[in-house]
């Protein structure tokens, strides 16, 4: 699903955020990405999301080499990926329903199908009764779940989560992780950046550990 082949990322100004990263995460896998802040977790996720482009090396997503892909094709790659952010990036001038519907509208789904899929996603996350509310009226955990609903509504092949439990208490965090497990069970590949070590240890998942821009452990097969 995700293959890093000797990837380095150097920012303008010379700071090298990632050096010679190589790993392969297979289709249907669920893995964690850990490391101290500044270790390059966010940069790694941004490379996969094509927000940042690799300086050196090859990046494969679903078998496709995207390291030198043209700007115009980026949106279509991003539609295969669901993003979950720590500060969830919901649009506060729209209802929960409209927030979750956004990826479907972008992908050009029919009106009826949008309604069906959005309600299915909201139902799965226990938010069906909140569809008409505005995100500002929801609790932090609920907002995060709306963000997850938006990420999965398009049935992406890959979910990327950047500190999805960063602002939540342990109870809620465990709930969110259980949700990820459910999605993984139906075949979605998931990569979660987190520094919540106790939580990660509870789950039996491969861990990619970054240290100063280098891959520090071999829990995941590297090549």
């Amino acid at each position: 699903m995700i293959r890093f082949d000797n990837i380095s990322k150097r920012y303008p100004g010379g700071y090298e955020a990632l050096s010679n990263i190589s790993f392969h995460m297979e289709k249907g896998a669920m893995a964690f990405l850990t490391g101290h802040s500044g270790a390059g977790k966010s940069t790694l996720l941004k490379l996969i999301a094509l927000i940042e482009r690799t300086t050196r090396g090859q990046l494969f997503l679903d078998g496709q080499n995207v390291s030198r892909i043209g700007k115009r094709r980026i949106p279509y790659i991003r539609r295969k990926i669901g993003f979950i952010f720590q500060e969830h990036h919901l649009l506060f001038d729209r209802t929960v329903f409209d927030n979750v519907a956004l990826p479907l509208i972008i992908a050009g789904y029919r009106h009826q199908e949008i309604g069906r899929r959005v309600r299915a996603a909201l139902d799965k996350l226990g938010l069906l009764k909140k569809e008409r509310l505005y995100p500002i009226t929801l609790s932090g955990g609920e907002q995060q779940r709306v963000g997850i609903a938006r990420a999965v509504v398009n049935k992406p092949m890959l979910l990327l989560a950047d500190e999805p439990t960063g602002n939540l208490d342990p109870e809620l965090s465990r709930e969110i992780m259980a949700l990820f497990g459910l999605f993984n069970d139906v075949g979605v590949s998931i990569l979660i950046a987190s520094h919540d070590i106790p939580l990660i240890q509870e789950l039996d998942c491969p861990v990619l550990s970054l240290e100063h821009g280098r891959l520090a452990n071999a829990t995941v097969a590297t090549e």
Partner: protein
Amino acid sequence: MIRSRKNQRQSQHHWRAQLRRLLSPRTFLQRHAQVALDSLGRLYRNRVASLMTAAVIAIALAMPAGLYLLLDNLERLSGTWDGQASMSVFLKNSVSASTADRLATSVRAWPEVHSVQLITPDEALQEFSQRSGFADVLDALEENPLPTVLVIVPASDYTDPAAASTLRDRFSRLPETALAQLDLQWVQRLAAILDIARRGILIIGSLLALAVLLMIGNTIRLEIQNRREEILVTKLIGATNGFVRRPFLYCGLWYGVLGAIIAWLLVETGFWLLSAPVSNLAGLYQSDFHLETLPLQLLWVLVMGGMCLGLLGSWLAVGRHLNAIEPT
């Protein structure tokens, strides 16, 4: 290696379905209609601000449209005389009625002359007192001050300005003539003045169209700034530039259309206010002239113009500012 479950064929099927969905004309139209309505709704939610912007656009559109219509009416006024390039030959007071009659008959035989109408002083006085409203004053006169007039219409080969003035000179040389005058002359001068006015309106119109363009561009630029977060999020979840651009283009288009409709109301109201005094003035010149605006045609032209300017203005703004907003 990490657990693997997904199968390749399923994902290929998924993508083919997505492509089919994107290319279906029904979804395409549905999406555009949706975006157009959304943009309109957004304008309605900020209706005071939207209305003010639209009003400024309307004034800028109404100015050249109104001036052009006024000019058009003036041209129509001069056009009614354009066809008959007639000439008035005023005879001396000493010329008797029978001499005038003979002269008219002989002139009628000239090859340059198409027709001759003889207006005796009595006929002229009668017509004048009927149409000017000075009947009482004229009755008080002891003598008829009006001369005999021959109204000459040149033959069709002699209507151009040069031939017409040669013919006028020939009439001037007749011993009975007091004054030979081309009626066409002031019409030609008016046409020249109108030509200048038309050029002036073209310049004003271009400048105001540019102002509309900048106005819409600036409004859209502010709108883009206000919706920065939304643009970032939609780009991040796979929106193409086209998708992000669309609501702003529709927004510009609506501003143009709204401005055009208000401009139409302004012009029609202005002409309605002018129509009574103008008809009154025309009446004093014995004319049944009245202002015409052709409301439907005007509305059509204004709306099309406003729409184009709106689209172009927002296109320029979007092109400049949208690419600068990329997720980081």
